[in-house]
Amino acid sequence: MAARAGRSAWIYLALAAGGIAIVYPFLWMMATALKAPREIFELHFWPHQATLDNFRTVLLATQFPRWFGNSLGIALVTTASVAFFDSLVGYTLAKLRFPGREVVFGVILSTLMIPTEMLVIPWYTMSARFGWIDTYWGIMFPGLMSAFGVFLMRQFMAGVPDELLDAARIDGVSEFGLFTRIALPLVRPALAALCIFTFLGNWNAFLWPLIVIQTPGMRTLPVGIALFSGEAGSSWHLIMAASALAVLPVLAVFVLLQRQIIEGIVLTGLRN
């Protein structure tokens, strides 16, 4: 009994040590963001005189609030689009019978193999021709649907009972109503997971936005932070304040939705 307790104490100790290593960069980020410029190169960890000046500078002297808004708007629109179209396609492929069904699914699935890097050059030439460079549409259009989402939703939609759909049909529900009112509510956990993934993916998107954005006002948060930090040189107090401003809202959302997010990962990750 004592040996067992001793062993589990070691396990807790090991896990705690790992946990400290995980959060250590965040602690330094916060400590540095709260320091005055002269303090950041001194040895102590926590600022002697904590200041919010760095946050103020980032929020007022750069277009940070605008970048934040750009990212939020783009991530919300793309997430709504993916949620709607991917579940509609998933439903159609799983529950409606029509000639060519396998072909459509095969084509969409095959696009999963294509890495983004291969597509950015053609997307760029296309955007240049149609005048999409440096526009919100230009930043968003590649992410409006995702083959992964179709694949995921098709699997979950397959679990919706046909009898339920047929009963609703007899009651006079339209085909589109079957999708929105019967099928969608039944796959809500999968849909929530898809939304979280899509939002995170677009919130983090970097390569394509970096290519297609040209003016500071159009920047998304990742592009804004990268270019701002590049210009800030060794003003680490400002870089860390900007990073903290990008990290903290996400952390807050994570703390609130922690269970759903992690269970969503399990739900979707293991289905593959």
């Binding site: 409006l144 948060l221 590049g230 996400v250 994570f254």
Partner: protein, 302 residues
Amino acid sequence: MTARARPGLRLGARRALWAYAFLAVPAVFYVTLRLAPAVAALVISLHRWNIIARDKPFVGLANFREVWIDPLFWKAAGNTLRYAAVGIPIQLAGGLGLALLLQRITRYRGLFRALYFIPFVTPIVAASWVWQWMYSPQFGPLTRIFDALGLPTQAFLRSPRQALYAVTAMVVWEFIGFQIVIFLAGLEAIPRVYYEAAEVDGAGGWRLFRSITLPLLNPTLVFSAVYGTIIYLQLFTQVLNMTFGDPGGPLGSTETVVLYVYQQGFQHFRMGPAAAATVLLFGAILVITVAQMRVFSRQVEY
């Protein structure tokens, strides 16, 4: 009215029409923004593609030849493989180890799981800059730890020999929580009776792990390895941001294939060679992931 009179055929046809209506917009999307661009990348790789010049002559495999003889491309390709070869095993072993530890505790399991998971949801660009500060050779937090322990100061990201591993550490940090969550779910799916039966037969901890846990965890391992490969072969954001002032790191030591594509295509505007490099990357990802699925899946068959 007629539909009600002959329900069988009419209803089927009507439903098919609905299906086509539902698929119309997505079909246009997947064809014009996924399939056509993939073909276009191949086409561009076979032309001298200057975005301003009207004339875009067909040059056969000249772009591929140019990439093939570029030492920086091979440096990038070698680095990319090294990122994967170093990062994935650490990530899998570390993730599995921590998942096994988490499985043995009863209290605070959810708390630890959430803690380890935080980096996965952290914006990658911001996290990369935080890590650049961690590695800063004069005053960075890691330098202070090394000082405190009496170890010699390290150059980390500024050293051609260390930079790649310094970036890899950040990527492992970012994905370890994801890996833990996936492994925990895989472990929970293994029926307890197998362990109980083996314990009755007197099998010890290591044997239980070798002959029950590992084989039954195989699908999770395959998924993790393939997913990890796709992530590591496409590394870009972390590398660009962690060695921002000197993209590709000292002597190109952190350069990856995707960073090479970005520099060729969008900094030097050499679209042809950039497209050729993406075609090569596509081929490499395909071959490696298919090979992984074959090799790993075979192990479980016996």
